[in-house]
């Protein structure tokens, strides 16, 4: 009705043809969002990209264009390569662990009725606790001489383990702490997913004879949780890629615990090589992007019905 009423009024403006007017109006509508996107996301990224091709250092008087020099240096730097390898190992431990344990805990907690609220809070506490402060606690727990973990191991007849001194154990130890911190969050996400599953589906499964725990899980729970699982996997891997605080507090990036973000921090804010650190950041972002896109495409095929 309104269009009909307005049409003659607009037609009286003679100079421009209809497509041009529409194009103008469309552009005007898009401008604010585009400006915002440019200012908030694109511009900083461009800055980063430009910096990554220079030798800029904090306090430097001049700046030189290096092209891809920083990237060549990074990829041939053994420390950075170790950092990449360690980060991938960390992700490889935390991603499946975080998804499976989060789901397991959610399934167990979902089955409770009265004690559910208690378990939810208990498992969520590590998420709210700051990892920096809790790292001190972990340091004590895992202490080779004083810590109760090694005390238990010794009591059970195992040799003492240098959880935060032995290089090959560093990443697994950090991964366990990372999991401890993460599971509560994943549990909450899975619980939300579980609550949204229609009861009818479980009833139908029961009628169809698929009422046993394994059948129920495979025919209803797991497929219904697919979107949640995908979301949990993506957020978990991003969190895992960004491992930093435990490394900073517990090992200071000591031999065997070099990770990407800590390497970036060292180059940029300890050695002030902003240009080089920007190049590392670009590599880091490229990694994350590739990984997320891969996951999204892989899982998307299974999630959509």
């Amino acid at each position: 009705m309104t269009t009909l009423a307005l049409a003659p009024a607009i037609d009286r403006v003679p100079q421009r043809s209809r497509p041009v007017r529409e194009w103008l109006a469309g552009t005007l509508f898009v401008v604010p969002a585009t400006m915002l996107l440019l200012a908030i996301i694109i511009a900083p990224l461009l800055c980063l990209l430009i910096l990554s091709m220079t030798d800029y250092e904090i306090g430097a008087m001049q700046i030189r264009w290096l092209g891809l020099g920083n990237f060549e240096k990074a990829l041939s730097d053994p420390v950075f390569r170790r950092a990449m390898g360690n980060t991938l190992l960390y992700v490889a431990l935390v991603l499946p662990g975080g998804v499976i344990l989060g789901l397991l805990v959610a399934l167990l907690v979902h089955g409770r009725t009265r004690s559910r609220a208690f378990y939810e809070v208990a498992y969520f506490l590590p998420v709210t606790a700051t990892l920096i402060a809790m790292a001190a606690v972990w340091q004590f727990l895992l202490h080779p001489k004083l810590g109760p973990v090694n005390g238990l191991l010794k009591a059970a007849g195992f040799p003492e383990m240098g959880f935060i001194s032995e290089p090959s154990l560093l990443i697994p130890t950090l991964a366990v702490i990372g999991l401890w911190n993460l599971i509560g969050f994943n549990m909450i996400l899975f619980l939300a997913g579980l609550t949204a599953i229609p009861r009818d589906l479980y009833d139908a499964a029961e009628i169809d004879g698929a009422g046993g725990p394994i059948d129920r899980f495979l025919t209803v729970t797991w497929p219904q949780l697919a979107p949640t699982t995908m979301f949990v996997a993506v957020t978990t891997s991003i969190t895992a890629f960004k491992v930093f605080d435990t490394v900073a507090v517990l090992t200071r990036g000591r031999d065997g615990s070099e990770v990407l973000l800590y390497a970036i921090y060292l180059e940029g804010f300890q050695y002030f090589k902003i240009g080089y650190s920007a190049a590392l950041t670009v590599i880091f972002l490229a990694f994350m992007l590739a990984f997320s896109v891969f996951q999204a495409f892989q899982l998307d095929r299974r999630v959509h019905y």
């Binding site: 009818d200 394994i214 497929p223 019905y305």
Partner: protein, 388 residues
Amino acid sequence: MEHSLELTRISKAFGKAGVLSEIDLTVEPGEFLSLVGPSGCGKSTLLRIIAGLERQDAGQVRIGGRPVDDLSPRARNIAMVFQNYALYPHMSAAENIALPLMVDRLSLPERLPLIRHLSLRRKRIEAAISSEIGKVAEALQIEPLLARKPGQLSGGQRQRVALARAMVRQPSLFLMDEPLSNLDAQLRVHMRDELTELHRRLGATFIYVTHDQIEAMTMSTRIAMLDGGRLAQIGSPADLYERPASLTVARFIGSPAINILPARVDPQGHVILGTLPTGLAAPEGMAGPVSLGLRPEHIRLHSSCDRAMPMATLRRSEHHGADRLLHLDLAEDRQTGLIVRIPQDETGHFQPGETYGIGFAPEKAHLFNSSGQRLGTRPLPARIGAAA
């Protein structure tokens, strides 16, 4: 294949709230029994108890003469169709239909992802299952849809897939919880016919929950009406329509709804409407306020009459194709509305605002006491205010 169903003194409460109390019900083999009643009266709960999805607090369920209280839903050999179909959204229609058979015939390891490929006999069994699916799909005309997922099907098609999944195991008892209520009116009428036809062809026992009395009236061999967790009446559709056991049943069955008029019984036992006798007598010893029930098609309107008759004013007249519905207000108290159904071709002038005399055949009237129970009536020899 068909089995009988017997419920004895079934009771169920959720917490303190009693939902069902002492339901006794026997369903003959091959019967199509509709379970009707207002929302929240416990229909779904009763169906879930029969299916074994819910455990009754007291009483016994027997299928084919055999107590099944300790059996799982699967062991009871029943099928259930849900209101929103409850199809597994990640499986194609064919996989949905196949699931009950897969579970029946393959062991758990043979159904697990990856491991299942180790089984040698799986291929053979799956081939047999897929030919059975083909037969069911043909019967329900869903063959072209088998490869699609439920999300790509219309409501009616989903309903048919859900039916196929129910049929494929050849159960002895079909339980359906408002299976048509998510469909649009036209499709509902169509599926109503299909279900009736399916029942005739399979010869299985159907228990059909609905709150739509037209579905219940048109499809069932018998109707059981629940009210407040009790069985209000059970009988053929004609029984419930012609001899409703209570005011609730009378109001629930029939569309448009029965007219309920406040009346009273005078000391002589005559039923008085307003100030006029109706030609009906209540049972001996009965006096006080009663409710008089009159179906819309049993009321006759008289435009010119000198007899003493209850009067009503015509508010509006509705065209319903073959019928006409006249909405009137009873003259004494303008509160009580009255609906009269007359054939479209009936002659007579019906002008809004006009006043008409109301007549009815006493043997067509229903009488209920103040607590809503049906009372027997007897026509009096002298019919006052009644048109033959």
